[in-house]
Structures are given as C-alpha cells and as structure tokens.
Symmetry: C2
Subunit: 156 residues, 2 copies
C-alpha cells in the first residue's frame, strides 16, 4: 500500500478557541494515538460503522479518498474493503468542536459495511429498557445483504 503523502500535515492544538473557530484541521489523537470516526452513507444518512484512525491512517484516507482505519484488534492499518471489496469512497469528512471525533460521509461500495453480512453495523436497537432483565435488543435489519463467508472466507 502506498505511503501517505508527505504534503499532508495537521495544525497545532495549543489554543482551545482556535481549535473551535479556526479553519485549520488539528485532529486530536488519544493516549493510544486514535480518533473515533463514524462512517455514514452520504446518500441515505444511514450510519454504517464506528471505527478508529491513527494519524497515519487518517493521512492515508485524505490521500486516497477512501476510508483507511486502524484495527485495534489486529493492531494494524486497515484499508476498509481491501479483503471484501467493500471500499468506502469519501464524500466529506467532518470534525467536531474540539476536533476529537470524525464523521465520514461515504459511498459504500459492495453490499454492505458489516462483517456479519449486513448493510450497517448498527442493525439492532434497544427494544425494552425496563422490565427486561437483561435489557432486550430488537433487529432493525434481519436479512443479510451478502454472505460473509463468501466475501471474507469461511471462519469457524
């Protein structure tokens, strides 16, 4: 995979007011070097997934125009879709007031974002918060969009 463009740099984070009001991208990476990024379908506004980026993967995202995350479980750069073909084309990147969170408005290629075979990772909602022990979930998407075994390879 190509390395990030050396021309991409971020602003300083030494002035709280400037972080909030200036037109300079100065993302905050936490103690683990990560920033959360919510991917949202640019056309439908349906949230797809929440993942994390480190500085390198954010620069790669800006460089490629495709979502590149950092996998906390595998501890490696994760170019979304490299295995499945389910690439996320970047339409717009938003940041929040203190620049410690990102939203990616994307075009999700392929059948879905979720490794379970669904269009979105957020396929369940809290159904009964009270009177159910433990709290119950309901499915908002029951049918699979694709066969995860076919796309990712069979896992036992």
């Amino acid at each position: 995979m190509e390395t990030p463009s050396s021309t991409i740099s971020f602003g300083p984070r030494d002035d709280k007011k400037a972080l909030e009001e200036n037109p300079v991208f100065a993302p905050k990476f936490d103690a683990d070097g990560l920033i959360p990024a919510m991917a949202i379908d640019a056309a439908t506004k349906e949230p797809l997934m929440l993942a994390y980026m480190n500085e390198e993967s954010l620069k790669m995202t800006l460089d490629l125009g495709e979502a590149v995350y950092y996998s906390r479980s595998r501890q490696e750069i994760w170019h979304k879709g490299a295995t499945s073909g389910h690439v996320q084309k970047i339409h717009e990147i938003r940041t929040d007031c203190d620049q410690d969170a990102l939203i990616l408005y994307v075009e999700q290629l392929g059948a879905g974002a979720c490794h379970t075979g669904r269009s979105t990772c957020f396929y369940r909602k809290v159904a009964t918060a009270k009177g159910s022990d433990p709290v119950a979930l309901g499915f908002t998407e029951t049918d699979l969009s694709f066969d995860p075994n076919a796309v990712y390879g069979k896992k036992s």
Copy 2:
C-alpha cells in the same frame, strides 16, 4: 439526580457470536469504563455530537429517556441540558455488531447541541486535503443558533 433503576442490567460478553446475533444488550465499556455514543437528530438525521457514557450514565439514560453522558474532562456524570436546558430526548438507541459503540437518535430540545452556540458540534468539514499546509477546514454552519454566553454563562 436520581440513581439508576436497579432493574436495569446488561447481558454477558463471553460469546462473540451471541454478542453479534442475540437480542440481548451487552455493551462493552473500554479500559476507562467508557463507550462512545453518537447523538443524531431523529428527525433530520443530522449528527449532533459524539460523547461517552460509563455504565452508570447509560443506565440513567435508559431510565430517564434523556441522554446522560460521562464527561471525561470534568470526570463526572453529565446530564446533557442540565445547565443549558438543551436536553436530548431519546427516540431510539442502536448498538453495533460487537456492541462497543452506540447511536442515540434524539429530539434535541433548545437551540442546539454544541457549547459553541451551534446546532451541531460537526460544523466544519475538510475543505482542502491536498495542497494546503496544514489541511484546511470549511464551515458548514457559520451563524450561531444561540448565544453560548447567555446559555452557559460568560467564560473568559
């Protein structure tokens, strides 16, 4: 503030497949005891803010039907709107495949979600990723929805 209902409990997290496919809410709190929660306007689908909950504040959210976060900077339970009146009424709570992230579909009371005086915290987008050093942001919301000094009290 009232304490969480003792009737609210979460499921076990010992089976990965069950976490993904069962109708049982078993949220993951990280090493700091926190889970990220993206608040989204239920009517417009506009993302409002990303904040964090600990177990106590999530149970309070389920109990009250209003968003209760955990403030990492103040290190305390944060009932959104307690100061500003900008309460977030919960319409729906979603969780993702491995249940380590939440989406709150809310009705945002008052003029906005952001302490800067804007309707959303995500009021800037990456404008020029390449050819600008550092990366430039553009404003998607320039006018303030409310006067933050009047709502939160003047801060120097």
